[in-house]
């Protein structure tokens, strides 16, 4: 939360591209840092490489000893088994629904609240901000039991509601948007008001289009959290039909422990969308990481 308070969104340094080293362009011999970075990068990529290789390996090779480092042939048996024997498609659909609803709701509700807390004057505003700030201190674990009971009273158990409701809005989202709106010059809105637009029109037509970078950060934050969430589905969903991808594959650990190609194929299905997304929007992901202690 301190990062949020001390650094308005707009002034964050872009760590994906800016090098701080003073340039020493004269000698162009390769840096010694490669000797450190090549093995490190290799180690960080290794689990993913293993995951992809194992997912297309012949099943018997994964449990043979000594196991080959590289599969002898490509075998899609794991994926076939995954799609024919398990409800993975259903789980994928569930997760896509959960994440989509969460992202849309987050963007709408948090930008509204962020704008209200940043710009509108009303009684109780300070109290509201402080209360929301205070909730950041409360760990999820403290909320598990009462939230479970609350959900079961509201009839949200064994349905997607249990996975969606915790991600409809967040203190982080409200704060992110508030900090962003505070960083905009008030003259923008005043100009709009003089032209006869009301608050609502100013917000929709002038302010929101400027907020795209902050909204992108918020969307990624919500996507990562809702897609990868395990705790809420775990405590609230018992019916296989409503499993999310994460809960489904975590459950495989018990039921299909030895079917490694199938497990790895499931892992690929659950992880690949986010990996691809990361490769395309690395800058925004890094921004999101910097601004939050995601998965803290």
């Amino acid at each position: 939360m301190t990062v949020l308070e001390t650094q308005p969104v707009t002034v964050l340094p872009d760590v994906t591209e800016t090098p701080a080293e003073p340039k020493r362009r004269k000698r162009r011999r390769p840096s010694l840092w490669h000797l450190f970075l090549v093995p490190v990068a290799f180690l960080f990529l290794l689990p993913f490489v293993q995951m992809f290789m194992a997912s297309v390996s012949p099943a018997e090779e994964l449990v043979s000893f000594p196991p080959p480092f590289i599969p002898s042939r490509i075998d899609f048996g794991g994926f076939v088994g995954l799609f024919t024997e398990t409800p993975i498609l259903r789980w994928m659909l569930n997760t896509v629904i959960v994440s989509s609803v969460a992202i849309v709701s987050h963007l709408v509700l948090c930008s509204l609240a962020g704008y209200g807390f940043a710009r509108l004057k009303f009684r109780g505003r300070t109290f509201g901000i402080l209360a929301i700030l205070g909730t950041i201190m409360i760990p999820t674990q403290l909320l598990m039991i009462p939230t479970y009971i609350l959900f079961s009273r509201l009839g949200l158990i064994d349905g997607l509601g249990a996975a969606i409701v915790p991600w409809l809005a967040s203190a982080f989202g409200i704060f992110l948007m508030r900090q962003f709106f505070l960083s905009l010059p008030p003259e923008l809105e005043e100009a709009g008001m003089i032209d006869g637009a009301n608050r609502w029109q100013v917000f929709l037509q002038i302010i929101l289009p400027l907020a795209k970078p902050a909204l992108a950060t918020l969307a990624i934050f919500t996507l990562l959290n809702s897609w990868n969430d395990l705790v809420w589905p775990l405590i609230a969903i018992n019916n296989q039909d409503w499993f999310t991808l994460q809960l489904g594959i975590a459950n495989f650990q018990g039921t299909r422990r030895t079917q490694w190609t199938l497990l790895m194929a499931a892992n690929v299905i659950a992880t690949l969308p986010l990996i691809i997304f990361f490769l395309f929007a690395q800058k925004q992901f890094v921004q999101t990481m910097t601004l939050s202690g995601l998965r803290g």
Binding site: T2, L12, P13, V15, P19, P22, S31, W33, H34, F36, A41, F42, F44, P47, F48, V63, S64, P67, C110, A113, G116, L120, K121, F122, R125, G128, I132, T135, I138, P139, T140, Q141, L142, L143, M144, I145, P146, V165, A169, A171, I174, N198, R199, N228, L230, Q246, L247, I249, F252, Q253, W260, M264, T271, L274, I275, F285, M289, T290, G293, G296
Partner: protein, 311 residues
């Protein structure tokens, strides 16, 4: 709704009754913007947090009539040896993971903070595991560290080193979990340090260079002092996360072998959702909350005294 029209036409110097009415309208307009998100956030945090406290004073299994027992659940915490063991396991994990992740973040950030060939590739490689979920990381851990055919033991075999039990060995399981957490989270500490490195004054670094300082000296005397506040922040953040370890234990060892990886939150989950002891589970949750608070406040006070404020 007449709110906006009224606000636009309202002028200064209106009679008091109309003024207070206008104020009410302004209040309403403001609350309309903030209320949905505020209700959701507070309703799913402060309200359940208060409820958890009430639950912790009760004996309740979710079905029968709850029975008020006062501080009995908290008294149980003091004598419950399984809970003490859970604190110990959590402490072991925290002691392994936090220094490792802070140091890794520092090293990687310093290494990545330069303009050399392939730097984009290196950054991507180190950052991309951040998107891996606990469930995916769990399956990968059990695969890579499988004692019979896992890659890690295979490498040990090829290099002639003794093979290990890893997740099936009670002294090693926590190390494997910490290592795989590090794999996924190194990106976070690295990114925070990278951002902090941008703030280190280039003038000071240049001055140090002109004074004949070598790379190590200018790091130690210029860069590191500037990174101390962010180190406190990252340390606290990672500690809070480490104390709350649950997901990766659930997706790898489920608390085993021989309960060696049963952390506080895993114990809480077991008490609440396996044994349906909501009262005791809530007491464990509150104990965890206070532990987190005490550690945070302690570190903040300590670092303020040492003059490296992070907050």
């Amino acid at each position: 709704m007449t709110t906006t029209a009224e606000r636009v036409t309202a002028k200064r110097g209106t009679p008091p009754a109309q003024r207070s009415r206008r104020r009410l309208v302004e209040d309403l307009g403001g609350w309309l913007f903030v209320i949905p998100a505020t209700v959701l956030v507070l309703g799913l945090s402060i309200f359940p947090a208060a409820w958890a406290f009430i639950l912790s004073l009760q004996k309740w299994d979710g079905f029968s009539e709850p029975e008020f027992v006062g501080g009995e659940q908290y008294a149980r915490l003091i004598t419950d040896e399984d809970f003490h063991a859970a604190i110990l396991h959590t402490g072991v994990y925290t002691a392994i993971f936090v220094p490792m992740s802070v140091l890794a973040g520092l090293f990687l950030a310093v290494a990545l903070n330069r303009k050399i060939r392939f730097i984009g590739f290196y950054r991507t490689a180190i950052f991309v595991p951040f998107v891996a979920s606990a469930a995916a990381t769990g399956i990968l851990s059990t695969y890579l560290f499988n004692p019979q055919f896992g890659l890690v033991n295979n490498v040990l075999r090829v290099t002639g080193l003794p093979q290990q039990g890893w997740l099936e060995d009670e002294t090693q399981a926590m190390w494997v979990i910490a290592l795989m957490s590090l794999w996924g989270q190194a990106a976070f500490t690295t990114v925070i340090y990278l951002a902090a490195l941008q703030d280190v004054s280039p003038e000071l670094l240049e001055a140090a260079r002109l004074d004949g300082a070598n790379a190590w000296q200018s790091f130690w005397h210029v860069t590191w002092p500037a990174l101390r506040p962010v180190t406190v922040f990252v340390g606290i953040w990672q500690t809070i996360g480490a104390i709350q370890l649950f997901d990766l234990v659930f997706t790898t060892t489920r608390g085993g072998p021989l309960d060696a990886t049963k952390t506080i939150v895993y114990y809480l989950w077991e008490q609440a959702f396996k044994r349906l002891d909501f009262g005791y589970g809530s007491a464990v949750a509150y104990a965890l909350f206070f532990l987190t608070l005490i550690i945070t406040i302690g570190v903040v006070i300590y670092s303020r005294r040492r003059g490296m404020e992070a907050f």
